[in-house]
C-alpha cells in the first residue's frame, strides 16, 4: 500500500501530509472500485447483449426504488467524504498560536522571507523541525501561490492584503517550494528551497547564514547565489540586456550612469550596487532593483564579486 502511495504522492513532510494522503488513498481506491464497476458493466453489457438481428428487447422504462437507491447512496458517500475533508481542512485553516511567524513577500519571480528577528533571505528558508511555522504572505505585483508539495500545503498570495498558511515540518532535509498561481514569464522559475534543520543547526544558520559556503570556491558560491537570490531573472551573463545590466565583461571597465557621470566597476562599486542599488543607476535602466541589505551575507557578496570577475 505504501509503495502505491509513494508512486502517486510526494514524500510526506508533515503530519498533515499523512492525513491528506490517507483521504487521497481512500478516494483513489473508491474511485478505482466504482470505475471498474461502471466500466466493467458497460463493457460486459456491450459483449453479453451484443446484437443479434430481430431480438426484441424487454420494455423496462424505470424503477423508482432503484433511482432512489443510486441517488441516496452516493449522497451519503459524498457526505462522509465531505466531513472527512472538512475535518482535516480545519487543521490546515487554523494556525496554532505559538507558531513562529515568517513573513513572505512574493514578487515577480522571487521569494523573500523575513524572520521574527528581522533577518531576511531570498528563495531559501530554514525552519526548525517539529515546530509549527506560520507564513503571513503578501505580493508586490500579481497573484502568486506558496506551494510546498511535501507538506501538502498551498495558499494564494494576494497583492493588497495578507494571506496565511502554516504547517509543522517533521522530516529533516530539503523540501521543494514552488509558485502555483500563474504569474507570467518566470512563473515556472519561481522556486525556493525549504530546509528543515534541527534546533542547533537552525540557530547557527540564522546568525551566519549557514557554513556550506565554505566547501565551495568563492566564484562557484557566487554563481549559486546568483541563481538562488534571483539575480538571474534580471541580470544576464551572456551580454544580452535584461531588466538589469548584464554582468558579462563589466569588471574593471568604466560604466556611464543615467546622470552622465561614469564609474570604475570595482569591488566597492559592486558591493554598493547590491546594498544600495538606487545610489547609482546605469544609463538606460530604471531604479527597480530591491536592496539586498540583510539578504546577502558577507560570504555571499564576496562570492558574487569573485564570480563577476570570471565573466569575461
Amino acid at each position: 500500500m505504501e509503495w502505491f502511495r509513494s508512486i502517486m504522492l510526494p514524500p510526506q513532510g508533515s503530519a498533515f501530509a499523512g492525513e491528506v494522503d490517507t483521504l487521497y488513498m481512500f478516494l483513489f481506491w473508491l474511485s478505482a472500485v466504482l470505475f471498474l464497476g461502471i466500466g466493467g458493466a458497460a463493457i460486459y453489457f456491450a459483449w453479453r447483449y451484443r446484437y443479434t438481428p430481430g431480438r426484441v428487447t424487454p420494455h423496462i422504462t424505470h424503477n423508482t426504488t432503484l433511482e432512489i437507491v443510486w441517488s441516496v447512496l452516493p449522497l451519503l458517500l459524498c457526505g462522509v467524504i465531505f466531513f472527512w475533508g472538512l475535518n482535516d481542512w480545519m487543521k490546515y485553516a487554523v494556525a496554532p498560536g505559538e507558531s513562529m511567524e515568517i513573513q513572505i513577500t512574493a514578487k515577480k519571480w522571487l521569494w523573500t522571507f523575513e524572520y521574527p528577528d528581522g533577518s531576511r533571505t531570498a528563495n531559501e528558508i530554514h525552519v526548525p523541525i517539529n515546530k509549527p511555522v506560520k507564513f503571513i504572505m503578501t505580493s508586490e505585483d500579481v497573484l502568486h501561490d506558496f506551494f510546498v508539495p511535501d507538506m501538502r500545503v498551498k495558499h494564494d498570495i494576494v497583492p493588497g492584503r495578507y494571506t496565511q498558511v502554516w504547517f509543522t515540518p517533521t522530516v529533516l532535509g530539503k523540501h521543494h517550494v514552488t509558485c502555483a498561481e500563474y504569474c507570467g514569464k518566470g512563473h515556472s522559475d519561481m522556486t525556493a528551497t525549504l530546509v528543515v534543520d534541527n534546533e542547533p543547526d537552525f540557530k547557527k544558520w540564522l546568525e551566519t547564514g549557514g557554513d556550506d559556503w565554505k566547501n565551495y570556491p568563492p566564484e562557484k558560491w557566487g554563481e549559486m547565489q546568483r541563481e538562488q537570490k534571483g539575480c538571474a531573472t534580471c541580470h544576464s551573463i551572456d551580454g544580452t540586456k535584461g531588466q538589469g545590466p548584464t554582468w558579462k565583461g563589466i569588471y574593471g571597465t568604466m560604466v556611464e550612469m543615467n546622470d552622465g557621470k561614469s564609474y570604475l566597476v570595482d569591488d566597492a562599486y559592486l558591493q554598493e550596487s547590491m546594498l544600495q542599488p538606487n545610489a547609482k543607476i546605469v544609463k538606460g535602466f530604471e531604479a527597480i532593483m530591491p536592496s539586498f541589505q540583510g539578504l546577502l551575507h558577507p560570504q555571499d557578496i564576496r562570492g558574487l564579486i569573485a564570480y563577476i570577475k570570471t565573466l569575461k
Partner: protein, 552 residues
C-alpha cells in the same frame, strides 16, 4: 398518413429520396449567407466550430511538444521561450472554451436536430439564429486579431491583477469574449422559446427526446449565466482603459472579486459544455441498445438539476484563493450535491444497456468511451471537491487532467459521437464504418495516454501552466506528449474519412440506426421545411416495442 415507425432492423421506412432537400433547395453562397434555415445554420456552425477546434488543437500539440523535455529542445534548438509558451497555452484555453466547446453542440448539432426532434418547421426566431452565428464569426475575427496583434498571455481565466497590467491585447480578447457571449445567449434564448411553443401536437414535456431536455437545460444556463460574463469582460476592459479600481489592488480593487465574477459564469459554463454531451449520449445509448431508455424522467430531471445546482458551486475554484473559510466550506458542501445528478445519469445509461440488443457502430463506441472517460472525470472531481485533498491538488496537473477528462473525454467524445450519429441525416451519406472504429480507438488510446499520466504529474505536485519543470517529471511528460500525437492522429483520421464521405453520392437511408425520435421520420437529408406534413406523436419516446406496420 404518417409512416408509423417500426424498429428492430435498420434501413426501415425507406422511401424514394426527394429530389429537393435543404442542401440544394437554393444554391449559391448568398443563399447560404442569408439563410434562416436552422439546418443550414447548423451546418455553418459545424464547419466554424470544427475549424476553431483544429486551431485550438494545433496549440495543444504545440504545448505538449514544448513540454516533451525540460530543455524544450527539438532537434537541438529550443522550440519556444517561456513567454511564447504562456501565450500558446492561453490561446489553447481561450479558443477551445469560447470558440469551440461552448457553441459546439448547441450551435451545430442542436440547431440542426432540435426542430426536427420536435416536429417543428424551424426554431422560434430564425433570424436571431442567424444573428447568433454572425456574432460568433465577429467574435472569432476579433479573437484572431487579438492573437495577431499581441497574443494574450494571462491564461483563459484572465485573472487580475496580471490581466490588468500585462501589455498583451487583453482588451481585444475580452471584447471578442463579450460578443461570443451574446452569440451563446441568443442560441439559448432561441431554444427555450422553441421547446416551449413549437412542440409537435401530442408531444408533452415528457414525450420529448432527452436530447431536447439536455439542450433545454443548457439553454437555461446560457441565458442566465452568460450576461455576468459579459459584464465581467466590460469591467475588465474599463479597468484597463480608465484605471477604475475594482479588481486591481494597486488602485483599490480586489482580485478575489474578479474571481467571483468570472467563476459565477465559468462554472455554469462547464455545465453548458457537459450537459449537451450527456444529451447526445442519452440519444445514442438507447438507439444502439435498441431498448427503451431506463429512467427517462430521472435523466430529464438530472439535466435540469445539473443546470440549477451548477449556479451554487463556483467557489470550489477558489478554495485557496483567499476566500473566507465559511464560504469555502459552504461551496465544498454544495459541490458534492452536484455529483449526484451526474451519477444518476451514468447509472441510468448502464441500466438502459442492460438486456439490450447492442450493436457497436461508431456512435455507440463513442457512447461507451464517454461512459468510461466521464466516469473517471466525475470521480476525480470528488478529489477536488473534498477540502483537504483540494489544497494539495488545486492548480496542479491533477486539475488539468480532471477537466480534460470531463471536457474532452466527455463533451468532445460525445460531440464526435453525435456528428457520426447524425451524419447521415445532415449530409445524406454514410461514413465508412471501418475507419470510424479505427478513429475512435486511436482517439480513446491517445486520450488516455495523454491525460491519465497527468493525474500522476499533478498528485506528485507539478503546478499547471509551467514551462520549466523538475527533471523527475520528464518521463511522464514524454509519455503524455506521445499520447497527444496518437490523439491528434485519431482526430485527423476522423476528419479525413468524414470529409471523404462527402464525395460519395447520397446513399443514407431515412433511418439508418432504427432511431425512434422524430428526426428519423423525414428524409436524409431533410427537405427544406423538414416534414411533408406535420408529424403527430404516436408513441412515447424510445418505444422499441414491435408494432404492426401500418400500410401507407
Amino acid at each position: 398518413m404518417a409512416q408509423a415507425l417500426t424498429h428492430s432492423d435498420p434501413h426501415i421506412g425507406d422511401r424514394p429520396r426527394p429530389a429537393k432537400n435543404y442542401l440544394n433547395a437554393t444554391t449559391g453562397i448568398w443563399s447560404w449567407m442569408t439563410t434562416v434555415d436552422h439546418k443550414r445554420i447548423g451546418v455553418m456552425y459545424l464547419v466554424a466550430v470544427s475549424s476553431a477546434f483544429f486551431v485550438g488543437g494545433m496549440f495543444a500539440l504545440l504545448v505538449r511538444l514544448t513540454l516533451l523535455t525540460p530543455s524544450h529542445k527539438l532537434f537541438g534548438k529550443v522550440l519556444i521561450d517561456a513567454d511564447t509558451y504562456n501565450r500558446v497555452f492561453t490561446l489553447h484555453g481561450a479558443i477551445m472554451v469560447f470558440l469551440f466547446i461552448i457553441p459546439s453542440v448547441p450551435g451545430s448539432l442542436a440547431n440542426f436536430v432540435l426542430p426536427l426532434m420536435l416536429g417543428a418547421k424551424d426554431v422560434a426566431f430564425p433570424r436571431l439564429n442567424l444573428a447568433s452565428f454572425y456574432l460568433w464569426c465577429t467574435g472569432a475575427i476579433l479573437a484572431v486579431t487579438s492573437m495577431i496583434v499581441g497574443a494574450v498571455d494571462t491564461g483563459w481565466t484572465f485573472y487580475t491583477p496580471y490581466s490588468t497590467t500585462t501589455q498583451s491585447s487583453v482588451g481585444l480578447m475580452t471584447m471578442a469574449v463579450f460578443i461570443l457571449g451574446f452569440s451563446s445567449i441568443f442560441t439559448g434564448l432561441n431554444f427555450i422559446a422553441t421547446v416551449h411553443k413549437l412542440r409537435a401536437p401530442g408531444m408533452g414535456w415528457f414525450d420529448m427526446p432527452l436530447f431536447v431536455w439536455g439542450t433545454y437545460a443548457t439553454a437555461i444556463i446560457q441565458v442566465l449565466a452568460t450576461p455576468v460574463l459579459g459584464i465581467t469582460m466590460v469591467l475588465l476592459a474599463l479597468e484597463r482603459v480608465f484605471n477604475i479600481g475594482i479588481f486591481d489592488p494597486k488602485i483599490g480593487g480586489d482580485p478575489v472579486l474578479f474571481q467571483h465574477f468570472f467563476w459565477f459564469y465559468s462554472h455554469p459554463a462547464v455545465y453548458i459544455m457537459i450537459v449537451p454531451g450527456m444529451a447526445i449520449i442519452s440519444e445514442i445509448i438507447p438507439t444502439f441498445s435498441r431498448k427503451t431508455i431506463f429512467g427517462y424522467k430521472a435523466i430529464a430531471y438530472s439535466s435540469v438539476a445539473l443546470a440549477l445546482l451548477g449556479f451554487l458551486v463556483w467557489g470550489h475554484h477558489m478554495f485557496v484563493a483567499g476566500q473566507s473559510e465559511l464560504a469555502t466550506v459552504v461551496f465544498s458542501a454544495l459541490t458534492f450535491l452536484v455529483a449526484i445528478p451526474s451519477g444518476v445519469k451514468l447509472f441510468n445509461w448502464l441500466a438502459t444497456m442492460y438486456k439490450g440488443n447492442i450493436s457497436l457502430e461508431t456512435p455507440m463506441l463513442y457512447g461507451i468511451s464517454f461512459i468510461l472517460l466521464f466516469a473517471i472525470g466525475g470521480l476525480t472531481g470528488i478529489f477536488l471537491g473534498a477540502l483537504s485533498t483540494d489544497i494539495h491538488l488545486t492548480d496542479t496537473y491533477f486539475v488539468v487532467a480532471h477537466f480534460h477528462y470531463v471536457m474532452m473525454g466527455g463533451t468532445v467524445i460525445a460531440f464526435i459521437g453525435g456528428v457520426h450519429y447524425w451524419w447521415p441525416k445532415i449530409t445524406g451519406r454514410m461514413y465508412s464504418e471501418k475507419w470510424g472504429r479505427i478513429g475512435c480507438s486511436l482517439v480513446f488510446i491517445g486520450f488516455n495516454m495523454t491525460f491519465l499520466t497527468q493525474f500522476f504529474l499533478g498528485s506528485k505536485g507539478m503546478p499547471r501552466r509551467y514551462y520549466n519543470y523538475l527533471e523527475q517529471y520528464q518521463p511522464l511528460h514524454a509519455f503524455s506528449t506521445f499520447g497527444s500525437w496518437v490523439l491528434g492522429m485519431g482526430l485527423f483520421i476522423t476528419a479525413a474519412y468524414l470529409l471523404a464521405s462527402l464525395r460519395k453520392p447520397m446513399d443514407a437511408p431515412d433511418n439508418p440506426w432504427g432511431g425512434t425520435t422524430m428526426e428519423w421520420l423525414t428524409s436524409s437529408p431533410p427537405i427544406e421545411h423538414n416534414f411533408e406534413e406535420q408529424p403527430v406523436l404516436e408513441h412515447e419516446p424510445y418505444d422499441y416495442r414491435p408494432r404492426v406496420k401500418k400500410h401507407a
